[in-house]
């Protein structure tokens, strides 16, 4: 993705929305890209690594049941700045998905609906760079709510650890014959890096695994002279 282009689009949007009455939180979100400095080390940015658990894999029909996220500053995961909340999906939870995330209907009976949780989450994220494993999937659910509420997508820079890993760790495979996809799963990567991931398959546990993988990627990229934010954007930014 061309970062310059994205930033230009963001500025145009800000111009268009200049006179609209928006909550301060949303105003702030519009400035997210201003915090990104492609020429500076990626490590010096603030990141929020997130993972969602959903009722299924169909982006159109399924809903979010849990949000987990951790903040990473200076390459370190802050255990005290954690976002961890169950979401009431407003529909039944299919048995198939319960097998994955082990969230049963009883647990979400008193959970808040997605819209309310989203507001808190947006405040938590602020202008930080968002990171997720298979980010387009998670981003889709976030933007669906964002668009309903405010009419446009989240303006944060979003990075996909799958893309970053695929383009740095694996041999080039333009035709997909090696099934690289599987090698970039969370489990495969955790094993590759010797990470012992607690609480796997909870939103927060998976977010933690993703954060630890991102830590490794920072190092790997720094060692191969690709340590700037610009490099990271080239390797794994999701189109805005």
């Amino acid at each position: 993705m061309n970062f310059a282009l994205a930033r230009m689009r963001n500025r145009l949007r800000r111009l268009r929305l200049k006179n609209r009455d928006l909550p301060p939180l949303v105003r702030q979100n519009l400035l997210a890209l201003e915090q990104v400095h492609p020429e500076q080390p990626a490590r010096s940015h603030r990141f929020v690594v997130l993972d969602l658990e959903t009722t299924g894999l169909d982006p159109n029909r399924d809903r979010v049941v849990s949000v987990g996220a951790l903040r990473m500053v200076e390459g370190r995961v802050r255990l005290g700045e954690v976002f961890d909340e169950l979401v009431n999906p407003g529909r039944d939870i299919p048995v198939e998905s319960i097998k994955v995330h082990a969230i049963v209907p009883d647990m979400i009976a008193h959970a808040r609906p997605a819209g309310e949780v989203f507001e808190d989450f947006m405040e938590y994220v602020g202008t930080d760079v968002l990171v997720a494993h298979f980010a387009p999937f998670d981003l889709h659910f976030l933007n669906k709510i964002m668009k309903v509420r405010y009419g446009f997508s989240l303006q944060n820079l979003v990075l996909d650890t799958v893309e970053i890993c695929r383009s740095t760790l694996l041999t080039p495979d333009p035709h997909g014959v090696y099934m690289d996809f599987k090698k970039c799963g969370l489990d495969a990567l955790a094993e590759r890096f010797g990470l012992e991931v607690p609480e796997r398959h909870t939103a927060l546990g998976d977010a933690l695994a993703t954060a630890l993988i991102l830590q490794r990627m920072f190092l790997h990229l720094e060692q191969t002279n690709r340590g700037t934010m610009g490099d990271l954007i080239k390797l794994g930014a999701v189109a805005l």
């Binding site: 005290g80 954690v82 010797g194 609480e199 546990g205 630890l212």
Partner: protein
């Protein structure tokens, strides 16, 4: 969010010493202030002399090495730290700069606790204070020594951590090599002049061949020459003190310390083979040990009233603690404690006899020996555990018997009570010198043993076991030795007894389950805990005792018995060494827990929650139990086959 959202991380931190002492609430608060950091293999995390640490790092996975740069551009390994260990504490607390290089040996995932929180814990929690201040003191001491002589000290000791290095410092590294010496035929006058010129208080008398034979001190010159009117022209050999206490130059500093304590001297002549190579003073040793165990012993010797004794025993705790922190071996610790306890007992007996004399009860009517039984008899009473003791006195004609026994029961009663006030609880089995069954004449003791051996089936063997670990402490005659000989003979005549004694063991198995998981207590006050004494030490001690009795060994300590059994080929050398390790480890663990509990103001007990151990300790403890089980199996096999034959 009241509960910490990543419980497994909190559970991990809970296993880390001293974080294991925090309450759930505090732990959650502390963990939520942590950050996860990653350091790749080979990364230099801290530079010696560089900026100090900003966080305390707890290693979640991987390991680091702590090193010091040496003069030649190389490095000296100070410590290796692995999963569950911390690093950065010293420079956090000390503040100005990092004192060691810390390098990742493998990829490291570490939980970082910000300095402010750590310092807060350090100042508000005794457990943190104790845990980190010791390593602080140790490390700082090493650093202070570095510029001049510290390097050889550190480099000379191998690689397993600073504390171990200190423990391993050899006499040759600490001694003074410039020693004033003279030949035996040197005139006293010349020797004295030489001492004055060199401004030293003593001169070592060495033969032409380099073998030291005696020493002349200022006191000797005063007492044996001037006061005695000896001609100053006479050879020093006539007035020197001897024999002299020597120590091998390859002996360890701790051994030297022990020798000094034992013989109440402040100097040892260091020899290589037979030749003198230097002198070691208690001051030289103290440079390494920091505290002054020699001083504790000296204090004890100075006490002249019963009141002073009650407090003195507490002075042993810091010394044991120091040994523990220095990575001292169980053997040293037990030796030291035994030496201390024996001295304490001698002092008590001395004072009690005096007291009885003053009160008109007269002196001891016949010679007697105080018998240490059980752990004290095995020289293994490192902690203030229940006293097991007895008293044996010379056979007397029947008409005097009751009067004599009365006198000794009186003595024993007072002594036992004094030991009690010094912190040794009374025995549960009544194995105490003030009970009539344990205060007997030599002949009565012999009868008691004969009976026990003959009718092993009927008597309470578990308690009786400790009777067989008897050792004379206050010996006016060699009663203990002759009793032991008598017992060996009786056992020789009745091998059946050993088989019975061996069978006591298997009821008391080490607490390992089918899958080598710890079997903990299922209910009661110590739920989910292990009893280190009953389930860890006792089976091992009992099994070793059976073999020792079979062989008629005179040594009573478990480690001593193991060594002797290996020497005689009863146990394979390797197996015996494993057992000795197992025994030592459990003893150390128990002493550590005991001191921790006392430090925290709790009543110490032998119980331990396996979850409070770090993974390495857990593994070691399991291995210890396993090897004990193997010994029990060996014993069963040995006596089954013997019975069959």
């Amino acid at each position: 969010m009241s509960d910490f959202p990543l419980p497994r991380i909190r559970d991990f931190v809970r296993t880390v010493v001293p974080f294991n002492t925090l309450s759930d609430e505090e732990l959650t608060r502390v963990v939520s202030r942590m950050e996860i950091a990653f350091y790749p293999r080979g990364e230099r995390i801290y530079h010696a002399g560089g900026p100090p640490a900003t966080d305390l790092a707890i290693i979640k996975s991987g390991s680091v090495k702590v090193t010091l740069p040496d003069d030649l551009g190389g490095e000296i390994l100070v410590d290796l730290r692995g999963e569950g260990d911390c690093f950065g504490a010293v420079s956090l607390l000390q503040g100005s700069q990092a004192l060691f290089d810390v390098t990742a040996r493998e990829d490291i995932i570490a939980f970082l606790l910000p300095a402010a929180i750590f310092k807060d814990l350090y100042s508000s929690h005794t457990a943190f204070h104790r845990h980190f201040s010791f390593s602080l003191a140790r490390n700082l001491q090493a650093v202070r020594r570095t510029p001049d002589q510290g390097l050889t000290l550190l480099a000379g000791g191998g690689s397993l951590g600073l504390e171990a290095v200190l423990k391993r410092s050899q006499v040759s590294e600490l001694m003074t090599t410039s020693v004033l010496a003279c030949l035996p035929q040197t005139p006293i006058r010349a020797a004295a002049r030489n001492m004055t010129n060199q401004r030293v208080g003593s001169i070592v008398v060495v033969e032409q061949t380099g073998v030291p034979v005696g020493v002349v001190t200022d006191t000797d010159l005063r007492v044996r020459v001037l006061a005695a009117g000896v001609d100053p022209g006479a050879p020093v050999a006539e007035v020197m003190s001897r024999p002299i206490r020597t120590i091998d130059n390859k002996a360890f500093a701790f051994e030297a310390m022990l020798e000094m304590i034992r013989h109440r001297v402040h100097h040892l002549v260091v020899v290589e083979g037979e030749r003198m190579v230097g002198v070691l003073s208690d001051h030289d040793v103290r440079v390494v040990t920091g505290a002054a165990p020699v001083g504790v012993m000296r204090d004890l010797d100075k006490i002249n009233s019963a009141e002073g004794l009650e407090l003195i025993h507490q002075n042993l705790d810091p010394v044991l603690e120091m040994l523990l922190r220095l990575g001292g071996s169980a053997q040293y610790m037990l030796d030291l404690a035994t030496e201390f306890n024996d001295r304490l007992l001698l002092k008590i007996l001395e004072l009690t006899e005096l007291e009885m004399e003053h009160q008109g009860r007269g002196r001891a009517p016949v010679p007697y020996s105080w018998l240490a039984l059980g752990s004290a008899g095995r020289c293994e009473q490192a902690l203030r555990t229940a006293q097991h003791n007895g008293l044996v006195f010379m056979n007397v004609p029947a008409e005097r018997a009751s009067a004599v026994k009365d006198w000794f029961l009186d003595l024993a009663g007072r002594a036992v009570e004094r030991l009690h006030t010094c912190g040794f609880p009374l025995s549960e089995h009544g194995l105490q010198a003030n009970s009539p069954a344990c205060c007997q004449s030599e002949a009565q003791w012999q009868n008691a043993f004969s009976e026990m051996i003959r009718e092993a089936g009927q008597c309470a063997l578990p308690a009786a076991g400790s009777l067989f670990d008897l050792r004379g402490v206050h010996e006016e005659m060699a009663f203990a030795e002759s009793l032991r000989l008598y017992v060996s003979q009786a056992i020789e005549d009745n091998r059946h007894f050993l088989a019975r004694l061996a069978r006591v063991g298997p009821h008391n198995r080490p607490p390992l389950g089918f899958l080598r998981e710890f079997v903990v207590e299922k209910s009661g006050e110590y739920r989910d805990q292990l009893d280190l004494k009953v389930s860890g030490l006792t089976p091992l001690i009992n099994a070793v005792r059976v073999l020792a009795l079979e062989q008629g060994l005179t040594v009573t300590s478990t480690l001593g018995r193991l060594a002797e059994l290996a020497k005689r080929g009863i146990l394979q050398e390797r197996f015996a060494a494993d057992l000795a390790d197992a025994y030592s480890f459990i003893v150390l663990l128990r002493v550590a827990r005991y001191l921790e509990a006392r430090g925290a103001g709790h009543e110490p007990n032998a119980h331990l929650d396996p979850a409070s151990l770090n993974p390495a300790q857990r593994k070691m403890l399991k291995d210890s139990f396993t090897v004990t089980s193997e010994l029990q199996a060996f014993l069963e096999q040995r006596y089954r086959t013997q019975n069959a034959a």
